[in-house]
Symmetry: none
């Protein structure tokens, strides 16, 4: 649904909607001809499926393998092709850095250069995270005119640079030459308005190089993925409700924060996540529950771990249902078949359960069954509008 | 998928994709309640279907009956509503004329006029093709300032005119008045920049009339469907691969050529087509195999001939599979139900077979089964992106 149409039709209501995202949920058949989800013990999900509408989502489009950013943007109701979260912004988001409207973020790599300044190792020997943390502190002392500077460690040689100030532009080239044997490139403005930003970045790099010059390894850096905070319509305002997120991994908290959800202290397990939802049940109308471990097992090519992760989620389904939500959505942000050990383009199982649901002839929550479900194959960005419709949070279009 | 997104996400890979187009594949039930495809003996296609993802395509849109041009543009991955191949260009393409970027093509009809120049027969009594060929040779002697003139026979009274030169425009009215009893119309420029082209065309018509004046029948001509070569992004460049077409009919070779495929010498039967694919297997990443006779039977309203044509194709399926392609697509460019003896708007059966395919609960390749397949009903223009995703030729969108 178009954002402006949502804004026009959305109305407040006394209903609760829960969106459960099993990251990387969709799979492919394993050795016994059934997928991870199909082999998992999912008693509670299957019981819900008996009364639910089932279908499958296309996260971005036919044949398109989504990253986590676009996968979640779609589930939050935004066209992931229209609202693109830049790599720098996503990386900042992924370490819980609250990006502001005047922030410009980049992904940084520490690298090693020789005496002539030529890159000899683009990853600085994958330097330890705590060394990177120490160097980031050193780099945070750099002062630039008119902007604040944040340098934050991510993992190994990776860090995030954020410049905060008026009028910064992301129309810059990357300083990473993508190969060794040459020096890092200067940042260049790709539009005239970005010249001041380019100058600031190059001054940052000059000072950084001086600060790191005493080191043999990790004595220089490269910057790429320039991006500002994406201008996303805020979900609570768009839908006229209070929205909360419970996520163990910072990336997903960050994505929820970008669309205006409040972040609950969710601990580090499904148990603590569910407890947080229960505790704040009266304070919000919409809860986004993110569960990472289906994806982790898939990414690692571990069929059984993915299957078990899904079964573990199933154990906590009653924790949601006992709160008497009006509508529960269960789906994934993309597929991660363990046979591919990667994200994939395959459609994702979808279930909408609760008030005013039209049941179909499909009674199990699985890839094969969802492909025959009453909801058909639908764009992921339409899932939230559909869920909110079931929660009577969308009024009639036209007289 | 948007063309620019394809350009951005496509990557080279060591995989082979085969697109089999059974022209006019989709049908409607015959006297025994089953379609041509359902009654055909399709042992090999059905065996593939057991492991495949099935669905159906919408070639252009709901209710829209496609011509061969849009039907194929969609299967080549182009939005047929955005990339229209003009009738003159299609007709030139259909006789294997290699249209260049400076070419302006029109469909021509020989017609018969009376002593006052009024049309008495718009089709010149469907004059024999070899007479038309002879007259085209005569008309090819016409000289115009600054342009080359090509006049080529098609069939019966139909021919193609191509003018080749800088700055020609297709913004012209047609000279065919669409009725008898009046003279052919002059070509008129519909924008000022087309005036020179209109003058050239009218001069061509004047000279042509003089050259044909000695004849009783086919003593004049009419021109319509002005079109230049459409500016189509070229498939090999877009997808970063080598693409080849094997087609017995010139129209389909021409359409493949318009999108940049190389045309293999494919002989005049499925046997010679398959031999050509096998011979060139190592030289290309993508093969388009066009099979005409399902459509021919349908167009002629001959249920049994269409059924038999489909069964004949099925016999050659092992010739494709023995080459060990990574992905095979089997579909049609549109439906041609023999009960309608014409193209129709009905969705077309679709099968995607090969690597990373998610099988569904559907085990036969037929209209009824494909309508329940795991791929759902999808736009035909998304088929190629989906096939190339399965062949790992699309990288991830977003981080």
């Amino acid at each position: 649904m178009d954002i402006e149409l949502i804004r026009r039709l959305s109305i407040p209501a006394e209903t609760k909607v829960v969106l459960c995202v099993l990251d990387g949920l969709g799979g492919l058949p394993g050795p016994r001809g059934r997928t991870e989800l199909e082999e998992a013990d999912t008693l509670h999900l299957d019981r819900m499926a008996e009364d639910a509408s089932l279908g499958q989502t296309l996260p971005v489009g036919y044949g398109i393998t989504p990253g986590s950013g676009p996968g979640h943007m779609a589930l939050f109701g935004y066209d992931p092709l229209a609202y693109e979260v830049g790599r720098g912004a996503l990386e900042a988001t992924g370490i819980d850095f609250p990006l502001g409207p005047n922030d410009l973020a980049a992904r940084g790599n520490l690298c090693t250069v020789d005496a002539e300044g030529r890159i000899t190792d683009r990853r600085a020997g994958r330097v330890a995270t705590d060394v990177t943390a120490e160097l980031c502190e050193r780099l945070s002392t750099i002062a630039l005119p008119g902007v604040e500077v944040f340098v934050l460690p991510v993992r190994e040689h990776r860090f995030v640079l954020v410049l905060r100030g008026e009028g910064l532009s992301d129309a810059l080239t990357e300083t990473d030459p993508q190969r060794e044997g040459v020096p890092p490139l200067p940042a260049e403005a790709t539009v005239p308005e970005a010249q001041r930003t380019a100058d600031l970045v190059n001054e940052f790099v000059r000072q950084a190089r001086a600060l790191l010059a005493d080191r043999e390894q990790a004595n220089h850096l490269m910057l790429r993925g320039w991006s500002t905070r994406p201008a996303l319509p805020q979900l609570p305002e768009l839908w006229k409700l209070r929205a909360a997120a419970v996520a163990v991994y910072p990336m997903y908290r960050g994505l929820a924060r970008l669309v205006g959800m409040e972040i609950l202290d969710a601990g580090d397990s499904l148990q603590t996540q569910m407890a947080a939802v229960e505790q704040c049940w009266d304070e919000y109308d919409f809860f986004f529950i993110h569960y990472k471990y289906a994806d982790t097992g898939g990414e690692d090519g571990d069929f059984h771990r993915k299957r078990q992760a899904i079964a573990d989620f199933d154990d906590h389904v009653p924790d949601v249902l006992k709160l008497k939500p009006n509508v529960v959505v269960v789906t994934g942000d993309h597929s991660t078949p363990s046979s591919m050990a990667a994200h994939s383009w395959h459609p994702v199982p979808l279930m909408i359960w609760g008030d005013h649901v039209r049941p179909d002839h499909v009674f199990r929550f699985s890839e094969t069954e969802c492909a025959r479900g009453g909801l058909g194959t639908m764009p992921a960005k339409e899932v939230l509008p559909l869920a909110f419709a079931h929660a009577r949070r969308l009024t009639k279009y036209g007289a």
